[in-house]
Each structure stands twice: as C-alpha cells, then as structure tokens.
C-alpha cells in the first residue's frame, strides 16, 4: 500500500500540473502580510486551518469543563451519603458542610452544574467544537478552495465563540451562581430572579453568552454555505462532493435558519426579565409577590426554543454522520454504499428537522390534537435514519476493513446511533412519551444518540484528520484503549438509565430518596457514577494523547497516509496559507472510487478513463 501512496504522490504532481486550475496564486514561503508573526499566524489568523484548530482546542477545553461538571453532580447523585467536603477548595460555598463535617453539594449549584453541563456540551462542544473544527478544516480542503469565502468573517466567527465562552465562564464565579434552570431555560423560571438564584445575574450572562454564540454560529454558517456553493474547484459538482461537505452544508443551512429564532426567543425573554413585558408571563405569584403580568404564555418560549432546539440536535449529529461516512469508506477501502441515498437522507432529515419541534412539548399543555402532526413527522425521520444505518453497515460488508482509532470510532458511532436512535421511536410516539417524558429514559436516549454518537463522530474525525491538521499521527495504542474503554464505559453509563427511566425516575432530581417508588435505584446510580468517572479519565487520556502527539507524535512522511481520494490529501504535508502551492487540483470524479477495477483507490483528481462511469453522476 505504501507503494501505491508514493505512486499517487508523483501522479498527483503530474496531474495537478497538467489539469490543475491556475488561479494565479503566489505562495509566500515566509508568510504573507496576514501571517507575519506569531500573533497573526496562530492567534488572530484568518487561515481556515488555524481557525479549525482553534475551534478544536477550545472545544476540548470546554468538553473537559463540561465533563468535569458532570462528574461532580454524578458524585452527589451516586453517593448522596458521601462527604464532598474535599471539593470545598474548588467550589467554596457551594459545598455545604454540616455540623458532622459532611460536605454536600448545594442543590442550587447542583442544578447550575446540570444546566452548564448541558449548555456547554450542546453548544460549545458539539456545535462549535464539532462543526467549527471540521467545517473550517474540510470545506476549503475538500472542495479545492484556497480558503473560506470570507476569511475575516471566519475568524470573527471563532472570536465571537471565544467571547461567548469567556462570558459563560465568568458566570460560573457569580455569587448567585451561574444559571440553573436547565439548558432549555424555560420561563418563568428563567425569567424571574425571585424564583431561583441562578435566574439573577447568571441568567443575564447566559443570555449574553448565547447571543454571542448565535452571532458566531451565523457568521460561520453563512460563510460555510457561501464557500461550498461558490468556491468549489473545477469539476467539483454537487454530486461529486464528499458526504462530509454535504453534511456540513445542510448543517450550516439548519443553523442559519434556526439560530435567529432562538435569538428572538431570548430577546423576548430579555424584555420580560428587565422591561416589564409579559411575553412569557401570566398570573404569577412568586416569593409571596403578586406580579402584574398577564396574557403571556410560557409555551410560546418553548415553541421558539425548540424551533432551534430540534434542528440543533441535527446540527450536532449531521457533521458526525458526514465524518463517519467518509472515514468508514476510506478505511473499508470501499465506496460508501448508496451515496445518493445518503445525500437524500441528509436532505430529508434536514427538512424534517424543522417540522418536529413540538415533540419536545407533548406534555407541556399544548392542544393534544396538534401533537398528532408532530408524532407523524417525528416517526418519519426514522426512515432516512434507518437508510443511513443500513448503508453504513453495507459499506463495511465486503470490505477490506482497516482497524484504527478513526475507523473504530466510526463503527462505534454507528452502534451508538442505532441504540440511541431506536429509543427515539419510543419518545417520538406521544402515547409512550406520557410516561417516559422527562425521565431517565430521555437522558439515556439523547446522551447516546447525540452525545456519545456525536463525540464518536468527532473522535473519528480527529484521529482521521489529525495528520492533516498537525502533520503528525496520534498514538494508535492509546487511541484504541480510548475507543474500547469509551465504547464499553459509555454503554455502562447510559444503558442502565433506560431501566430507571422505565421505572419512572424523573430527570433533574438532586436526590431520589424522597420517593419510595424511586429510591431503590441508589445503588444503580452509584454504578453509573463509577462508570462515568472511568470514562472521564479515558477522555483525559485522549487529551494527553492529543497534546502529546501535536508536539511529538509520529511524523507524517507522505501526503496521503490513508490512501484517500479526497482533495485535502493532495496538499503538502504542511500546507501553507492558500493550501496548494501551485495550481488547485481539479475534480474529475466522485470521492468514492475505492477498489474500483482492481485499483486500491482512485483519487478525485484522476481523470475518468475512456468509457468509465462516474458514480457521482
């Protein structure tokens, strides 16, 4: 195979010379005016590859914070009798030490941690960290562009995200605590400071951070869409795009259409919080005080929130699906099965994601008649999702499957997506949702299907494209320990939650021993907590592997280490600003000619032979 790689390298140079597209690009070997010193090269860079790395490393930082938070609240939940006084140096007054010297997590802060864990993981890690990293890295490289349509907008997208993170981080240190009303921030709880300490300054900062995040997401999204639609190299028709790009395109469209709705929802919330309006408030007595607000509806907020909130889960999972399709195909040495079906199912999922939002609200008091429509559309999503799963499995069928960290995580993604997706069929059916709504069954469902699965997609992408990002490989042994440990550990955390959920244990409970119906799960909770701690340390291992490999991982010596067809592997080992030193390669075929006609792989820039059929068309 190494043979083939070298052959491809020379072939590529020849073909790029002959067929490449000359856009009169001049490379500046010693950095151009935009990249002349450390600050402009690595910090305020407008190079999409640097911005991708910034998103990734910031995402890793937030993932660590968010996961550590979950360990703290899992400790309280799994070991309600244990002494947490040792956390006092870190958490201060949020650990209440009683007369016997036993430290307990303050319930208010427990809910703050739950809320921050959700917000951070959903938005900062799995939206910005995942889409931000791979959209930035892959769009120009895989479609054959020098950079994004607007590199400056791209940099701004990162810096708005950074700023959102700063504001959210600072809110952790408020004396009244960060926001504690759940990541969905339902009013009236989120609107009334009297109802909860976290709804005071913490909520104000949460709204500011989220608004900055919406700006970041929109700047990024518009840029992604524009770049994909306008800057494709010669020959890169839509039907020749790798599935990563299709997935990112639809993700960006979903984001651009839905984030503004969240923003307007939050804006009305700001009015309710500080200007005395009643969009979401009506007939409220809080803390013995009769409020003068009449006529609003908390359900309106839920509509606005979930109009983003539901597409948001596809914003998280679609890029992971794209990455997995690409990684599976490359390492199976086989075309992705049913490329067109994959594209159509991405489109179908993207479209349907906009008309299912109220399935989060079956039990919120909306007219039960309305729920009929949302049940129908929600369960229809199972069809394109099933198509994707069957296609991934068929891709592995008849392959020559190379096991490495990237391909293993892609396999793990498919397993998680099946397990978590199937439980969605229970919850999407409103009749079953009556019992399961807001129980641990839901926690199990969404953690597996969009938490773990999206993380697995992200890991697959990081292991696969690490050589492109840092010109080095990540350590494979640690990667495999990371994979098998996380796969087993994640199932041990979330699988038992199905049982607690069936038994009816509600989510977001600081303690379950108040209820005779639930309290026998204390020991299972303990087990889950222990599994969570183990999995947490496995992720620390990943972080160690990541940073160790950035600086001293095995060096990349060939351009195309995986024998991959897509254009990013035609760039130099250390691509500069502009990606290709000379002409931009043109695209002659679809991205999935693996094992065709006895060839190990045929890269996208290789012209079709006489009479050869291009499967993209």
């Amino acid at each position: 195979m190494a043979h083939a790689v070298i052959a491809a390298d020379t072939l590529e140079e020849k073909l790029t010379q002959e067929l490449g597209y000359d856009d009169h690009f001049h490379e500046h070997h010693h950095g151009d005016k935009f990249q002349s010193n450390f600050l402009t090269t690595y910090i305020f860079s407008t190079d999409h590859k640097i911005i991708a790395r910034q998103f990734l490393i910031t995402g890793i930082f937030w993932a660590f914070i968010g996961a550590a938070m979950s360990i703290v609240f899992r400790l309280q939940l799994g070991f309600p009798e244990a002494d947490l006084a040792w956390l006092k140096p870190l958490l201060g007054k949020w650990i209440q030490v009683n007369d016997a010297g036993i430290g307990k997590l303050d319930p208010e802060f427990y809910y703050a941690l739950v809320t921050m864990h959700g917000t951070i993981l959903v938005f900062f890690v799995l939206t910005a960290g995942l889409s931000g990293t791979f959209a930035n890295l892959l769009i120009p490289l895989q479609i054959g562009a020098r950079d994004m349509a607007s590199p400056l907008l791209n940099a701004m997208s990162y810096w708005f995200f950074f700023l959102a993170g700063v504001v959210m981080f600072l809110s952790l240190f408020l004396s009244t605590g960060p926001f504690s009303g759940g990541w969905t921030a339902y009013p009236p709880l989120s609107a009334l400071g009297q109802a909860s300490d976290g709804s005071k300054a913490g909520m104000t900062m949460w709204i500011v951070a989220m608004s900055l995040f919406v700006v970041s997401s929109l700047l990024g999204g518009i840029n992604y869409i524009t770049t994909i639609l306008n800057l494709r190299t010669k020959g890169m028709t839509m039907w020749r795009m790798p599935l990563t790009i299709w997935a990112i395109l639809i993700t960006a469209i979903l984001g651009v259409l839905s984030f503004p709705v969240l923003f307007s929802g939050l804006l009305l919330l700001v009015f309710d919080r500080s200007m005395g309006t009643s969009f979401y408030l009506s007939e409220i007595i809080v803390g013995g005080q009769i409020l003068d607000r009449i006529g609003g509806s908390p359900v309106l907020y839920q509509h606005l929130f979930w109009f983003l909130g539901h597409p948001e889960v596809y914003i998280i999972i679609l890029p992971a699906m794209g990455i997995v399709s690409e990684v599976l195909s490359v390492h199976a040495r086989k075309p992705i099965f049913g490329y067109r079906a994959m594209v159509y199912s991405i489109l179908a999922i993207g479209f349907l994601s906009f008309i299912v939002w109220a399935h989060h609200m079956f039990m919120s008091g909306v007219n039960p008649f309305i729920s009929n429509f949302f049940v129908v559309f929600t369960l229809i999503i199972a069809v394109p999702s099933a198509i994707k799963v069957f296609n991934w499995i068929s891709t592995v069928y008849g392959s020559n499957f190379r096991f490495n960290s990237a391909s293993l995580f892609a396999l793990g993604f498919v397993s998680m997506f099946i397990s978590g997706g199937l439980t969605g069929i229970f919850l999407g059916n409103s009749a079953i949702d009556i019992q399961l709504h807001d129980t641990y069954f839901v926690v199990a469902h969404f953690h597996i299907v969009m938490g773990i699965a999206a993380f697995f997609g992200m890991f697959a992408g990081v292991y696969h494209w690490f050589p492109k990002m840092f010109s080095r490989f990540m350590n494979e042994t640690l990667g495999k320990i990371h994979f098998w440990g996380t796969l087993i550990g994640a199932y041990l955390i979330f699988w038992p939650m199905h049982y607690t959920g069936m038994a009816g244990v509600p989510r977001r409970y600081y303690a379950i021993d108040n209820f005779d119906s639930f309290k026998h799960f204390v020991s299972l909770n303990q087990f889950i907590t222990i599994a969570a701690i183990v999995v947490f340390f496995l992720q620390v291992l990943f972080i160690i592997n990541f940073f160790y490999s950035v600086f001293s991982g095995r060096k990349l010596t060939v351009k195309n280490p995986w024998g991959s067809n897509t254009l990013e592997w035609t760039t130099p080992i250390k691509p500069g600003h502009g990606n290709w030193p000379g002409n931009i390669p043109t695209t002659q075929r679809w991205a999935y000619d693996y094992g065709k006609g006895g060839e190990e792989f045929i890269a996208q820039f290789v012209p079709l032979k006489e009479g050869e059929h291009d499967h993209g068309h």
Binding site: Y339, F403, I432
Partner: protein, 501 residues
C-alpha cells in the same frame, strides 16, 4: 490526602499509558506497516465480535435483571384504566426496535470482523443497489406507519377530555415552589373560580369567594383520597413557574403552567391495598423499605401512589411529593364527609372574606341541617340537660328587642321543627350578661323572648305551645368575668317542656 493519592495515581497511570503508547509505536516502526495492520486486524476483529456478543448478552441479562421495571410487567403494571394501552404500545415498540437492534448490531460488528483487513484481500466495489435501498426504505416506513397509527389511536383516546354529562370527579392540582396544593369540589361537585390577584397568606390559591361554587370546596391537609373506578379529571395549574403533575403508577403526566390551566383525565382501577397485595408477590418488594431498619415495613407494605414534579422548577424540584390513596367508594365517602369547607373553616369572617356579615345560602342550609339533627336528639333524649337548645343565630339590635334580619333563618328552622313535632311545647328564654341594672336586664330579656314568640305565632304556631320567659342575668352559662364569657351569656334558647320523653 486521599484526593492527593488519587491524583498521584491518575498521573502515574497516565504516564504509564503514554509510555506504553510510545513503546508500541516504536515496535510498530520496527515491525513495519503491514505487520501492524495484520496485528490490528486480528486483535480488533476479535474485540469487535467479542464486544458484540458481550454487549448483546449483557443487554438481555440486564433486561432480565431489571424486568420488574419493565412497563406493564409484573409489579410495574399501570394502576389506571388507560395505562395498559400505553404499556402495550411501549412493549410493541420494544419488540420491534429490539429486533432491529439485535440484527443491526450483529451485522455491523460481524462484518467488521469478517471483512477485516487481510493481506491481498480486495474490497468489493459495491457502490449502490437500488433494490436494497428500496427494501430498507419500505420496511421502516411500514413499521413506522403501524406504530404511528396505533400510537395516535392511544394518544387521542387517553388525552380526550371528559364528556360534560358523564360521571366524573374533578379535582384541582396547583404547583408552587415546592409543593402541590390539591383542591376538591364541595358537595355541588364543582370547583369554584380563582383569580391569582386574590392570593393572600390565608388564601394561598387565590380562590374567588364571590363565586358560590367555591364556598363548599375542600382543601384537604396531608391525606388525599381518590375513589377506585371513578373517572378523575385533574385541572392542573401553577402559581410561579412550570411544574409537572406526574403520577407514575397511573401513567399521568402534564405540565402545570402559570396562567394556562391544563388537564389530565384518568381512572384509578386498583386501590392502594390491592396494589400492595400485587407487589407482595415479588421478592424485591419483600425487602425492608428502609434498609437501615431491617425489621421495619417491607417495600410492599410501605407502597403508596406518589405524586411527583417532572418539570425543573428550582432547587427544591426533587422534593415535591404528595401521596394519593386510592380507596373504595365507601371509604372515600366516609373520608369526604369529614372534610371541612376550606372557605367556612379558614376564610369565613376574615379579611379575605368578601361576604363578611352576610349569611350565605350554604350556611343557612348547613344550619338547618344541624338544627334538625340536634332537635331530633333533644326530642328523643331522656336527659333533662339535652332538652335545652340554643338559638345561636338569633340576634337583636343593640339594647332593643327587635330581631336582626338574619335571625329569621334560625327562627324558620324552629318553625319547621314545631310543625314536625306538633305536640311540642317549648319555653323560649332570654338571657343577658351582668352589665347594667338587673331589673332592666330582666325586662329586656323578657321582651326579647316575646319577640321570638311573636315571630313564631305570626307563622302559625299556636301561642299555647310557647312560653316566653326573661331570665335577665340570673342564669349565666359561665361566670361573667370577661368580654368573651359575657358574650356567651347573652343568648336566646328554648327548652322542650312536653312531651317529656
């Protein structure tokens, strides 16, 4: 210290792992790329199959282990009429998705193992197969259609509101940080209206007492009962933030929304005792309810239908518990009879009472009932002390013998009694306290007794059956040593003279 040791261990383990990683990487370089690929294929191929087997077996074992939590199974059967439909929907979905889960997992990991990288193996070039795509589009579509149709049938049945002319009990549940207040209708079967602006410390629900429907409403204390087999419509509200009225055993769940009442209709089909007896059969439920007290109540004995909150409402969200006991209709009726009207027992006469100083229909009816009961006792009793009854709602204008307007209700009750017992002869007696001239007092009490007698004779009662008498301050009930006692001594009463029993 322990924290430090743990931290140290973690750091050491990480270093060890990184070193292992480096060593394997070095050996890999020595062994060469092909050798590494071969090793990888072998180990991870086996791990894939091993994981698949352990995972699937583990899933079935754990499901068996937790079978008692499965909806509709064993001790986790629904206690409401509609619950079974939902549980069977759950189980149908469980079977269908379970089949897909097992098949796809076997295929995924088996293929990964079977088609693992091998020297010289060529991957097959299979780009697509439209017939296969069609099959696995059609099958999920058909399955989903079945689930949707069944699901929506169940949903629309369960969520249907009550029919106004059917027999049901409507109760009201109000969520607030951090408890539930439950209100039952009075004997009229209707819950009175509310206005949140009327909320006070005494009137936590903001009940509008201008609405006669609210006068007989009941707000029970700790104990809440529901009759078995009776349809219950719960009207659900919230005062401050969102809550959720959640009765897991009845498969009932609905948000409580400030400013927007919601509802849920369900019929309890098992009394608490029946449900306990069902649980008794299971080993799990024969464990002590409180593990620290091995000889205390067992889990089945301690079982109650618990009400919880299922919508994050603040830091006390996890503690909003109430208990509903489901009992037979007779037990329910007995309990219900003991409940006092919230209005009459807690609000009447206080600042919140808009009807202060007025006599209400409900009071007139209640007093008539009480009067006829004590009259019956007095007539039947052989004890001389029982023969004297107070006319406690008969009052006079200050310092005069003119009856107040509201006295007529009690006097009408007396008229009814005189007609019911036609042979009755009574003495009507006026009493005063010791303030003022004793002679004046006597005169006034005599005149007041005569006013009563006149009221009765005007309504057709023969004068011969009535003996007015003024006792002045000579017969105090209690010593005249406080305002309170003096008020007790100012009274009008009557004594049955004949027939003596």
């Amino acid at each position: 210290m322990t924290a430090l040791i743990i931290l140290l261990c973690v750091i050491l383990i990480s270093i060890v792992l990184v070193q292992i990683g480096r060593v394997t990487e070095l050996t890999a370089q020595i062994k060469g790329e092909r050798e590494v690929l071969r090793d990888n294929s072998k180990w991870n191929g086996w791990l894939s199959v091993g994981f698949m087997i352990v995972f699937l077996v583990g899933v079935f074992i754990s499901a068996w282990e937790y079978k008692n939590e499965m909806m509709g199974y064993g001790p986790h059967k629904a206690a409401s009429a509609h619950g079974d439909i939902l549980d069977s929907m759950f189980n149908i979905t469980l079977i269908l998705t379970g089949i897909v889960f097992v098949i796809t997992h076997i295929a995924l990991f088996w293929f990964a193992y079977k088609y693992r990288w091998q020297e010289g193996r060529k991957a097959q070039f299979i780009a697509h197969d439209n017939r296969l795509e069609l099959i696995w589009t059609a099958i999920p579509a058909v399955v989903m259609t079945i689930l949707v149709v069944r699901g929506l049938n169940a949903w629309n049945t369960v969520m249907a509101d009550v029919n106004p002319d059917e027999d049901y009990l409507e109760i009201e549940a109000t969520g607030q940080q951090f408890n539930w207040i439950i209100r039952y209708p009075g004997p009229d079967g209707k819950i009175g209206t509310r206005d949140y602006k009327l909320t006070t410390a005494n009137n936590q629900l903001g009940i509008d007492f201008n609405d006669p429907k609210s006068w007989d409403d009941v707000v029970p204390g700790q104990e809440l009962l529901l009759p078995v087999g009776k349809k219950v419509r719960v009207r659900i509200l919230a005062k401050d933030v969102l809550h959720n009225f959640y009765l897991p055993h009845f498969r009932v769940k609905m948000d409580a929304v400030p400013g927007m009442p919601t509802y849920f209709v369900f019929t309890p089909i098992k009394t608490t005792t029946e449900y306990r007896n069902e649980l008794r059969k299971y080993d799990d439920f024969n464990l002590p309810n409180d593990p620290t007290e091995p000889n205390g109540k067992k889990r089945w004995e301690a079982f109650e239908y618990e009400l919880a909150c299922a919508e994050l409402c603040g830091k006390g969200h996890y503690s909003m518990k109430r208990i509903f006991k489901v009992v037979t209709q007779e037990e329910y009726d007995a309990w219900y009879r003991q409940q006092e009207s919230f209005y009459l027992s807690q609000i009447r006469g206080k600042d919140e009472d808009p009807n202060k100083g007025k006599v209400l229909d409900i009071e007139v009816r209640q007093r008539a009932k009480e009067f006829s009961e004590s009259m019956k006792n007095a007539v039947e009793s052989t004890n001389a002390a029982d023969k004297t009854l107070p006319l406690q709602y008969v009052n006079f204008e200050t310092g005069s013998a003119t009856l107040t307007a509201d006295s007529r209700y009690e006097l009408d009750n007396l008229v009814t009694a005189m007609n019911t017992y036609p042979s009755l002869v009574i003495e009507v007696a006026g009493h005063t306290d010791d303030v003022g001239d004793p002679l004046q007092n006597r005169l006034l009490s005599q005149m007041r007794a005569s006013s009563v007698v006149k009221y009765l004779t005007d309504r057709g009662i023969s004068e011969s059956r009535l003996r007015p008498r003024g006792y002045g301050d000579t017969k105090p009930l209690v010593p005249n040593d406080s305002d309170e006692n003096r008020a007790k001594n100012r009274r009008t009463e009557f004594t049955i003279l004949s027939p003596a029993s």
